[in-house]
Symmetry: C2
Subunit: 695 residues, 2 copies
């Protein structure tokens, strides 16, 4: 089986042959061929399976839920990972599992979410928070014998988990926990799989015993009889109804009324309640607890980063292939009927609208690939190492990176998809363009698994802590090096000293700008926080009032720079023939991101004259021009097969109008009179075809 | 009947009573009470009519098309304009018609589009391009006896109308035009109402006679038998299938194969073909032709501006009412279970995310209202005045304003809706939030009726022409005054001279900044165009290569400033009690827009130090703080009734959680087992409820 997308010759050849590199070589540089092979296997299998046939028409939500549930079962049966994988070390195994999920998510996002929540996250949570006494449940999960859900969010609380009010009170008499939902506002909601299909929940509830509350803990809670799917008594469970997208997922809500579960249903790796009702915390193995905590927080977010970067790739693939075929206006501007109209990609404005997103797609894809390796290494180490302090530092830094990277990538995807949709003009509004679907798939990613605007505060808080520790104790805890440049803060260039635009086209120059920017923002944020603190005496207020123009931008700049650093490190290993294009993509990404922050350089006194802004902007435009001949080759290297991109505008054959014709002529009922025609007939309407003489 | 939205007391009272003004007074200042009354009549009528009942569940596209078609017929029957309106002067009558459409569009956008295309635009085009010989068709249209469509766009050409290739060739023998579609690429497409329902088309085709092509002309073309809805022979007509939104509209495509229509079907006000086949241009009444041309180009765009500004209002209404109720985290930050959590609106970050959109909603709404008056006055004058030159100048200026205003408002709505969706967190992803629907309603507006990115070039071209005429001949043709400040270009302040942030909080200061910016961009664009021109000798290329960072920003700055000028002029007539709030909204809008352009001030040498950026940003944050107590009052003044906003998150009663509970508990099938439950049962799944002893 080939690991290569096949590229049919056709109208795109004109631009393809301009590329300075072999797209296959580029593809295998961007993505590990072994992982690509795994994806290809998934794609080729699903493409052949009628259960996974994509509908042309809009289905009812009920039908989408039904199909997704059936597809999930079928997907589980495939067992895409080879049997020997089970014995692989943690990192390799998880990477393979993540890759299978990536392949699924980019084609059937609803099935992927159902699987991730109902099986992946369930197994994960049981493994990391459960103990031997939950092994039979874990075994059932591994054998796909149970579909679960994870109930955390409540109707009136999401980000602030401490305020959640679903309670589990220990009843010593009966050796059970009694679960209650005090009111509708504390009903669990947005729980994927809970609406219609799951039979088990991992429920997060406030643990009460002996009159004391010990905070949120995880419990195994049976929801429905697996033989009938009828909910157990004591539960009010339902489906939340229509959403903006992800219609195949049955998001549910649940209220408990004195619902009882055995004492043993508490996931007790970190804490337990004894039969006597005593609460016992069991920090016997801090490394593992650290890893468990990290995994529970971050694995979902790393998954989103992967999925979102794939959606970003699909969006630019569609818009750029369209831009290479779609022609508009002729350079002579006389509008005469000649064949010399220019493809959209020839226009500077169009390049500038799309190429920065192409560069983001490339840089962020490579960043996600490389960062995932680091992430899994850290998790793996937490399960084996004894150096708790180092690990703790590493876990904090990983958390800081994930907390800013998930927002960066999901927002970058959001912006790219919208621009791509607009860049495809009217045809971009066709459902078959797939840009609408990509938009609604990515849309929830900006607010779930940690709201982006809340999440980024974790990174800036971490950076400020690093900064304070560096200043006070000369200690910088950045084992992954994401902010190691802070230690050189006194030596960093604080004045713009470039004399020509091209001097900015280097790793060193872009690094210098980012390092100045990040340090400037750290200092400004710290100063502003101290100022607010001195007025209000409230740390919380101080943090809240330093987000805008300060901490929020700091997190963004920090992660953009780190994405670039991962990218640069990876491309240093690239074949010479790929280097120039990759460099240009990195420069464009960096300068285009920096362009949004340039005011800070003027505010900070780094620049005063026009040169900084002018040089950056000139470079962005000249990089667009340089990338034009390579753009379609980069797209071919990034793009998954046509079956995956699934867009009438973005097929690799470039036969845009033939594909549109096929779509228009064959969509169901396209040329037939609607069944309801007689309901809309206008009584006594004149027939102007017949009254020719009167005209 | 009341012209006031009723405001139920409830949880929003806390913020409502902080407002410095009476929301009803503000409402009647923003919107003419007479027009508001018209809207209320439409809304109250439709709300009561079961034909217009909104479905809770997602309907099939087919069903949405059926309902929309039926609703359109019902809507036409209502004849919302009082009979005496027919005799009103053009301006007043059209304003009333526009108002009825606004009311319809914000509640039933699909019905509004079908009506606008199939009846409104049809009548308009017949009136402006047709003659006496088409009067019987126009009469039928006025009596709602015909549903039409307007076929202009072709599969491979949209913006570049000159390249369209559908042809109408005169056959002298039979005194007919023979219509042909050379190939699929020249099939007409995206034609609203054409897919399933219309019986007539106004077709734009290249007119050929005696072997010569005379360019695009409009023809009346019968499409379907009105008694059977079966298309006539010689036509291949179909529905384009699924779209991202506006599912109720049957967008169609059509190909003609030697399809014949009588000679008289040419709309012949500006040109005709004689029975002998001679082409005759008839510019007998240039004023009227000018008006006709203007109307055909611009009325649709003005309608979009109105509709988009209403959608923007609905979006901020939803997000701000949600922000006033939804609480998150407590200032003490200790997470203890107290009741002191802060509503989102208390957070500076949240204010900064939403208040600029609130200010845009207010400023742009007032701008659209006032501009519509000017627009209709100009159209009215073109039908009566003889001073062609003045009129021509006025028409050009109107065109320049519309060409930048439609993009400004539709893009502002796009950005606001997305931010509002995110600011409502997970609940914003509910279909019942309505933010998804608003997004997909506004989405096509950025690319249809003139693609925004193409359209804005009209404004910058006009500005450059004004500038050149001013420099060369000392003539500035700006009868509406939209660029009258250009004549003072030598006296304009070119150096930042403010010494404290509050100095920027004035009409004069913001005007000074905008005038500097616009003149700077004009000069830079002109210089860059000359530079490219001297290299390429191609005006077309020169214009294309000066869009990014130049002409495109110029158009944007020009229209932002003009929107503000309309706003300022209007608020100068406001009651004293409203003034402070309105001023703050205007300042926030102006400074927040300028903030995006500040780099140009550094590039142009207006500013060098940090003050400009720092002052502007400090003001934005302090204006947010100042507007907090007024925000909910402004929302009440802007918002249409709950029935129109139609959001579970944005109801005026503020009973967020009760409304959510009602939604969750009563959505169809919420708590029932799905019909397909047995299809997803996992064979031999263990029942963990029953094996309690084993846990």
């Amino acid at each position: 089986m080939s690991t290569e997308t096949s590229i049919a010759p056709g109208p795109l050849s004109h631009y393809r042959k301009q590329a300075k590199f072999c797209w296959k070589k580029m593809k295998h540089f961007i993505e590990d061929p072994e992982l690509l092979q795994i994806k290809m296997t998934v794609w080729q299998t699903l493409e052949k399976d009628p259960v996974f046939k994509r509908p042309v028409e809009l289905l009812s939500t009920e039908e989408m839920k039904r199909r997704t549930a059936i597809q999930l079962n079928k997907y589980c049966q495939y067992n895409f990972l080879a049997p020997e994988t089970a014995n692989f070390p943690y990192k390799r195994k998880t990477r393979f599992m993540m890759t299978v999920n990536e392949a699924l998510a980019v084609t059937y996002p609803d099935v992927s979410v159902k699987h991730a929540i109902g099986i992946g996250l369930f197994k994960n949570t049981l493994t990391t928070l459960g103990t031997e006494r939950h092994k039979h449940i874990l075994d059932a999960a591994w054998n796909n014998k149970v579909l679960a859900c994870l109930a955390l969010t409540e109707v009136s609380h999401g980000s602030n988990t401490k305020q959640m009010r679903t309670s589990a009170t220990f009843d010593k008499e009966r050796q059970e926990f009694v679960i209650n939902t005090p009111d509708f506002e504390s009903a669990k909601c947005w729980v994927g799989n809970l609406g219609k299909s799951c039979t088990m929940a991992i429920l997060f509830a406030q643990l009460h015993t002996n009159g004391q509350c010990h905070g949120l803990h995880a419990f195994i809670v049976p929801i429905r009889d697996p033989k009938t799917l009828i909910p157990y008594p004591g539960i009010t469970v339902g489906d939340m109804g229509e959403k903006i997208g992800l219609h195949g997922i049955d998001n549910g809500f649940i209220l408990f009324n004195n619902y009882r579960i055995p004492r043993e249903n508490l996931l007790n790796k970190t804490a337990d309640v004894t039969p006597e009702g005593d609460y016992e915390s069991s920090f016997s193995d801090p490394g593992r607890i650290l890893g468990a905590a990290l995994e529970n927080l971050s694995t979902g977010r790393v998954g989103i980063m992967q999925e979102s970067s794939n959606n970003l790739i699909c969006a630019v693939t569609i818009a750029l292939r369209y831009a290479a075929i779609r022609k508009q206006f002729a350079p002579n501007g006389d509008g005469s009927l000649n064949k010399n109209e220019l493809p959209l990609i020839e226009y500077q404005l169009h390049q500038w609208r799309l190429f920065p997103h192409l560069s983001a797609a490339t840089v962020l894809r490579i960043f996600v690939n490389c960062f995932t390796e680091d992430y899994l290494s850290v998790v793996e180490q937490t399960t084996s190492s004894d150096k708790i302090q180092d690990l703790s530092d590493m876990v904090s830094e990983i958390h800081s990176l994930v907390s800013s990277a998930k927002p960066l990538i999901t927002w970058s995807c959001r912006d790219a998809v919208q621009e791509c949709r607009e860049a495809c003009g009217g045809h971009g509004f066709l459902k078959a363009s797939r840009l609408g679907d990509i938009r609604s798939i990515n849309d929830p990613c900006v607010t779930y698994e940690g709201d982006n605007n809340v999440l980024v505060q974790q990174s800036s808080n971490w950076l400020l802590r690093q900064w304070q520790s560096l200043k006070q104790d000369n200690i910088l805890s950045t084992p992954l090096g994401s902010c190691d440049f802070l230690k050189n803060h006194e030596r960093i260039n604080k004045k713009f000293g470039f004399t020509s635009p091209t001097q900015l086209l280097s790793v060193e120059a872009i690094s210098q700008l980012y390092e100045y920017l990040i340090i400037h923002l750290i200092k400004e944020t710290e100063a502003k926080q101290l100022e607010v603190l001195s007025k209000t005496k409230c740390k919380f207020t101080a943090r809240c009032e330093t987000q805008v123009y300060h901490a929020a931008v700091l997190s963004r700049a920090y992660i953009e720079y780190n994405a670039l650093k991962y990218f640069w490190k990876h491309i240093s290993k690239s074949h010479q023939s790929l280097r120039e294009t990759l460099n240009n993509l990195g420069f464009l990404y960096g300068l285009n991101c920096l362009e949004k922050h340039l005011l800070y350089f003027y505010q900070g006194g780094y620049a005063t004259g026009p040169e900084l802004a002018t040089f950056v902007r000139e470079n962005i435009l000249s990089l667009c021009a340089k990338l034009k001949p390579d753009a379609l080759g980069v797209v071919d290297a990034l793009a998954p097969p046509d079956f995956v991109v699934d867009s009438v505008l973005g097929k690799s054959d470039g036969k845009l109008y033939e594909n549109l014709q096929n779509l228009f002529f064959h969509n169901p009922g396209a040329m037939s009179r609607p069944a309801w025609w007689s309901e809309i007939i206008i009584p006594n309407a004149p027939d102007f075809k017949q009254v020719k003489s009167k005209l």
